[in-house]
Amino acid sequence: MKRTLSALLVASFLWTPLAAAAVRGKAARYTGGTLAVFKEAVDGTWELGEKAVLFTAKKGGGKVEISYDKIESLEFGQKVGRRLWGAAVGNVLILTPITLLLLFSKKRKHFLTLTYLDEEGQKQGAVFELAKGIVKESLNTLESKSGKKMEYESDEAKKHAEKQ
C-alpha cells in the first residue's frame, strides 16, 4: 500500500513537467485561433521568409503562410512560472534543500498573437508559442516587414523581449 502510494505520488509529480513541455530549439506551436487547417494545438516549424512567415505542422502536414503585408496586428506576451514542481520533485527524490534554489528561477513561455487577412480576404487570428531562441528575430522581422507596431501584454514581457 505504502509503496503503491509513493509510486503514485512520484508519478504524479513527474507527469506535470512533462505534460507542460515547452517548445524548444527553433520550433513553434500553434496553440489556437481561427485557422481551420489545424483542429487543435500542434507543434511545427517556423520559417521567416522574404515575403511571409510559414508555419508547418509536424503532424498532419497542415501549413499556413502569413504574408507580412496582410498582418493587421501583433501582440506578444509571456507565461511566467516558478519551477515549483522541479523543486518539489528534487526535494522529494534527492532529499536536499539545494533543489529549492530552483524556486528562484523562472520558466517562461513566449506567445505571439497575429491577426491578418488570408488569401480570400477573410480576417484570421492565431496564437503561436515560440521557442525562446526565435523570439527576438521573429518580433523584429514581423515588426519591420509588416510595418505594424508590436503590442506587449505587460511591461515585463516587453522588457524581456528587448533584453533577449
Partner: protein
C-alpha cells in the same frame, strides 16, 4: 492507532484534493451563470468554435448559440488564490504558486434584440485562443478586468 488514523486522513485528503480544487479541465467549459433561460448555473459543457458564424455551448443540460456578429462586449478576468490546501497537505512550497480561474464574459443581443450575457469559466491555457477567435469574428476588442489578468492571460 493515532498514527494510522492520521495517515489515513492524509491519504484521503490527498486523494480528495484534486476533486475539491477541480475547476474546468482541458476541453471543458463551465457556464458559470448568465441570462440563458433553463440552463442551470455551474453547468459543465463544451465550447465549439468551428463555425465561423456562431459560438456554440453544448452540455447534457442544455445548449446555447451566440452569433459572433451579435456580440456587444467581451471581458476577461481571473480569480486567483494561493494553493493553501496543497501547501497544508503536500508541500509548503505550493504557496509559491497561485491557482487561477479564467473567466470570460460575453455580452450579446439575441434574436429579439434583447441584451443577453453569459459568464464562462474556461480551462487554463485557452483564454488567449478563445479571446482571439471571438475578437476576430465579432470585431469587438476584449476588455481585461485588470492588468494582472492581461499579464496572465496565457495561464
Amino acid at each position: 492507532m493515532f498514527r494510522r488514523s492520521v495517515a489515513r486522513l492524509l491519504v484521503l485528503a490527498f486523494l480528495w484534493l484534486p476533486l475539491a480544487e477541480a475547476s474546468v479541465k482541458s476541453g471543458e467549459v463551465m457556464y458559470v451563470g448568465g441570462t440563458i433561460a433553463g440552463l442551470p448555473e455551474a453547468t459543465m459543457g463544451r465550447l465549439d468554435t468551428t463555425s465561423e458564424k456562431v459560438l456554440v455551448f453544448t452540455s447534457p443540460k442544455g445548449r446555447f448559440e451566440i452569433p459572433y456578429e451579435e456580440v456587444t462586449s467581451l471581458e476577461y478576468g481571473q480569480k486567483a488564490g494561493r494553493r493553501v490546501g496543497v501547501a497544508i497537505v503536500i508541500s509548503i512550497w505550493a504557496l509559491f504558486s497561485k491557482k487561477r480561474k479564467h473567466i470570460l464574459t460575453i455580452g450579446y443581443t439575441d434574436a429579439n434584440e434583447k441584451p443577453q450575457g453569459v459568464v464562462l469559466e474556461i480551462p487554463k491555457g485557452t483564454a488567449k485562443s478563445f479571446i482571439t477567435i471571438i475578437e476576430v469574428r465579432s470585431g469587438k476588442k476584449v476588455e481585461y478586468e485588470s492588468e494582472e489578468a492581461k499579464k496572465h492571460v496565457h495561464g
